[in-house]
């Protein structure tokens, strides 16, 4: 697929940036004492232009109406303990991994710097069908049955290339998966056909909020029942590709606890500003503010407490899978580095203090991997996977961070610079232990 031409919004932004640059380099600005007020103006100006960019006008409408919501059959569980992926999974992982280690890894440095993933790369990701891995065959999907294990394997393979790009590529799948699992017939027939088309919508499941000690079961974003539907108010944090988002599944607190709402990008009252973070920068994260966002009754995806618990858990499994992929990248990178790097007349890998750190990375990495797989496999088998997801999250928080830190440490000062990817992995791996939603398997 040829690289896509920039959208109108992108052209607008780039023209804006040129203008900013010429103003910013002008000495006249300083002489006239105009720098501060101008910066202030440009700040709100860029916020405005992002708002305009958000919610590009895609019209979602049902092509054919489903009588009842389509639910997928579960993968048949074997009784034997077995870590062998199915042939289909092996095939998918191989194709994704080629793409990931070749294209994604190469683009990662610039995407991190630019806080954007090249559209051509995302187009390739769409060609691989990443946006529709959770969509049932009845609505044009390709997979026999939805599988959290398959999705985890894909997330892992992508994150081995880059976690931020993996998030940008897979976030829409979270929405299509949520719609497939829990959506009403109306929601499924309205939105799912778009996800299996040539250009699936940019979409994300939105849970995280900018509060300390955040707990997704006590949201500050509220959904108030009105005569005609619901009114949403609140602020959401680190939404992947926020500025482009066309479809959102938003978690909000109702009188009876958290519930999920399907909200289209252009809905009045939604506003978006860029929210770059420590890492995941390629995913162009943004902050979403909702001020009296009115949605119809039909926008309610689910108010079931069990559904919400499962969504949160599937998100945590997704982040654990991303951490596994990036940790594998760390391991493979430091293995080569410590063998090549010579100090005191021999490779530093001849020292136990160095070699044992590499061993510890391998030990903890495989631990996170197995606990993550078990959580996903339990979900696929229709069993309770909440606890297992919490355990995967716990390991991701502790050891994912540790592996990121050790990766930098093993390269010493070199690891601290952008000459090597380990500093980026350090930043990304911190996210995997704290993010909620955004990527739902």
């Amino acid at each position: 697929m040829p690289p896509q031409s920039p959208t109108l919004a992108e052209r607008g932004m780039s023209a804006g940036l040129k203008a900013i640059n010429s103003i910013a380099s002008s000495e006249l600005v300083d002489k006239a004492g105009l720098r501060k007020p101008l910066e202030q103006l440009l700040f709100s100006g860029s916020k405005q232009s992002l708002k305009a960019a958000g919610g590009a006008a895609r019209v979602f409408k049902a092509t054919s109406q489903l009588g009842k919501p389509e639910r997928q059959s579960r993968a048949k569980a074997g009784d034997l303990f077995d870590l062998t992926p199915t042939d289909e999974q092996q095939m998918l992982v191989e194709s994704v991994k080629d793409f990931s280690l070749d294209k994604i890894r190469k683009a990662a440095h610039d995407a991190d710097h630019d806080a954007a993933t090249p559209p051509a790369l995302l187009a390739t990701a769409n060609e691989l069908g990443l946006a529709m891995i959770g969509v049932p065959e009845a609505l044009g999907g390709v997979v026999e049955s939805r599988s959290a294990v398959t999705a985890a394997l894909m997330a892992e393979a992508l994150a081995e290339g880059d976690m931020g790009i993996a998030l940008a590529a897979m976030a829409p799948a979270g929405v299509s998966t949520a719609l497939s699992l829990w959506g009403t017939a109306d929601q499924q027939s309205t939105y799912l056909p778009e996800f299996v088309g040539d250009k699936p919508p940019v979409a994300a499941v939105v849970v995280a909020e900018p509060h300390g000690v955040f707990n997704p079961f006590e949201l500050k974003t509220t959904a108030r029942k009105t005569a005609s539907g619901y009114t949403l108010n609140g602020v959401k944090s680190l939404v992947p590709r926020a500025a482009e988002c066309e479809l959102l599944v938003i978690a909000a607190q109702t009188e009876n606890g958290p519930a999920l709402f399907v909200v289209e990008g252009g809905t009045p009252g939604l506003s978006i500003e860029a929210e770059p973070a420590m890492g995941l920068r390629a995913a162009a994260t943004g902050r979403l503010t909702m001020k009296t966002v009115k949605v119809p009754e039909s926008a309610l995806l689910s108010a079931d407490a069990k559904v919400y618990r499962e969504l949160i858990a599937l998100g945590r499994i997704g982040w654990a899978a991303l951490a596994v992929g990036t940790s594998q990248a760390v391991l493979d990178y430091v293995k080569v580095y410590v063998n090549d790097r010579v100090a005191f007349g021999e490779p530093i890998s001849n020292r136990q203090s160095v070699a044992f750190k590499v061993a510890d990375i391998a030990i903890e990495l495989d631990g996170i991997r197995l606990v993550t797989y078990r959580a996903a496999a339990l979900a696929d088998a229709g069993k309770d996977f909440i606890k297992q997801a919490a355990l995967a999250r716990s390991l991701t928080t502790k050891y994912g961070m540790q592996i990121g830190s050790d990766g930098v440490q093993l390269l010493g000062g070199h690891g601290y610079t952008k000459e090597h990817p380990v500093e980026r992995w350090y930043r990304d791996l911190r996210a995997a232990g704290l993010m909620e939603g955004a990527l739902v398997l």
């Binding site: 993968a75 048949k76 569980a77 074997g78 009784d79 034997l80 303990f81 077995d82 870590l83 062998t84 992926p85 199915t86 999974q89 599988s147 294990v149 000690v213 955040f214 707990n215 997704p216 079961f217 618990r309 949160i312 858990a313 391991l331 293995k335 410590v338 063998n339 490779p347 890998s349 001849n350 136990q352 070699a355 044992f356 590499v358 061993a359 510890d360 391998a362 030990i363 903890e364 495989d366 631990g367 996170i368 197995l370 606990v371 797989y373 078990r374 496999a377 339990l378 088998a381 909440i386 606890k387 997801a389 919490a390 355990l391 995967a392 999250r393 716990s394 390991l395 928080t397 502790k398």
Partner: protein
């Protein structure tokens, strides 16, 4: 079939039976033999006889209590015709890990001193000829490798074996320490060198009858934990054994292949020791969970740990570590059952389980406060018992060496 990390149903009976024995025989006598160190736990005789019977009857799918059983199971399993040689197998290694874990939930010290279940049987089964198997199989065999000056570096052992052509015997001399069940067993598998200049390839194992007059018991150790299990120190003084008691080939291998064959048994035994740690760790977690409940602390798996009370958050983190250790151990055993080379994974399982479960037990003691520390309950005992599992069958650091050498492609002279 899709990826599945659940325990197969076919092992539920095995696990249940092991749990019964662990509850009624091991737990029931746990404190008694912790206090009465060096006293023979006579209660085990009946259980051992029962296990022997089950094994012979095939009732346990060969998946009994220890490494010794693993070998019996391996034979049985091997004789079963498999329809598809490429089909995934869950066999003796997995079953043994499950059995061991369950028994060590009861008491790790008592498991280690189960009659006729010593690690020596694993060594015998690994290299014995059919004739040797007939003579030694099923008997209680201990392992004598470690020496005062040779611990982790078992290649540097000093015990010697000299061939006497006149009597067709080997004459063993040297000193052996840390022999588990060394006083109680019937046989001791002794590692000794045919030629100390020839290096590892000259190290052989010899079966010595416990009542051999050349075998002198120096003393029994007083230990931090696993006190139910005796640890003996021996002197071998012109200890004569028939030439037929040398296990495997008498040839001195030039390279290290002979020795690496010996080391290969670790690929099967290390996941078992990991399984032991997982059993003790689970005991500590269960007891602590009860205490937390009594104290009104609820562990919630939905709410992030940082939004819960400290004790709940810590408990969840310990459970996560335990689960990682458990799955790594099952993976190593699964690989062994499916003939996949698993040296790295076996060491990974032992390294993770050894350190995680020691950490778990010690932290559980702290969470439980004086209840955890007092002899009125078993938490303090588990915290003492579990430490050995990060030491024997290769210390934490030896596992890290094995893993790192493989990952980095290092020889033992490069990464020492």
């Amino acid at each position: 079939m899709p990826i599945n990390l659940e325990i197969p149903r076919k092992y539920s009976q095995l696990v249940e039976q092991a749990h019964m024995a662990a509850t009624h025989v091991f737990r029931a006598n746990s404190r008694k033999y912790d206090l009465a160190e060096h006293t023979y736990p006579k209660e085990l005789d009946m259980l051992a006889a029962m296990l022997d019977g089950m094994e012979q009857g095939g009732g346990l799918d060969g998946a009994g209590a220890t490494g010794g059983v693993a070998t019996g199971a391996a034979k049985k399993n091997g004789s079963k015709p498999e329809a598809d040689p490429n089909a995934v197998r869950n066999g003796a290694n997995l079953a043994s890990v499950l059995g061991v874990t369950e028994m060590c939930w009861g008491d790790v010290g008592l498991l280690l001193t189960m009659p006729r279940q010593g690690l020596g049987q694993a060594a015998i089964a690994a290299v014995a000829t059919p004739e040797q198997l007939a003579r030694f199989g099923g008997r209680w065999a201990a392992m004598a490798i470690t020496e005062p000056e040779a611990g982790s570096d078992s290649a540097s052992i000093r015990a010697t074996a000299a061939y006497d052509a006149d009597t067709n015997e080997y004459i063993l001399n040297g000193e052996k320490i840390f022999v588990t069940s060394g006083d109680r067993c019937e046989l001791i598998v002794v590692w000794a060198s045919l030629d100390r200049q020839a290096g590892r390839g000259a190290i052989k194992s010899f079966v010595v009858e416990r009542d051999n007059p050349g075998l002198h018991l120096d003393r029994l150790e007083h230990k931090l934990g696993i006190r139910a299990s005796d640890t003996a120190n021996f002197r071998l003084e012109d200890c004569r054994v028939p030439a037929e008691n040398l296990l495997g080939s008498a040839e001195i291998q030039t390279a290290k292949e002979g020795f690496s064959g010996v080391m290969k048994t670790f690929d099967n035994t290390r996941p078992l020791v990991a399984g032991m740690a997982i059993g003790v760790g689970r005991a500590a977690l269960e007891a602590t969970h009860e205490l937390l409940k009594e104290a009104g602390v609820k562990v919630d798996y939905n709410i992030p740990p940082h939004a819960q009370v400290g004790a709940a958050a810590e408990f969840l983190a310990l459970e996560a570590d335990w689960e990682a250790a458990r799955l790594l151990t099952l993976k190593a055993a699964w690989m062994a059952d499916n003939k996949k080379p698993n040296t790295v994974e076996a060491s990974i399982s032992k390294a993770k389980a050894g350190r995680a479960c020691t950490d778990i037990c010690l932290r559980c003691v702290a969470l439980a406060g004086t209840v955890g520390y007092s002899e009125n309950d078993l938490l303090e005992k588990w915290a003492r018992d579990v430490k050995i599992l990060d030491i024997f069958e290769g210390t934490q650091q030896i596992q890290q060496l094995v893993i790192a050498r493989q990952l980095l492609g290092k020889s033992s002279s490069e990464l020492r």
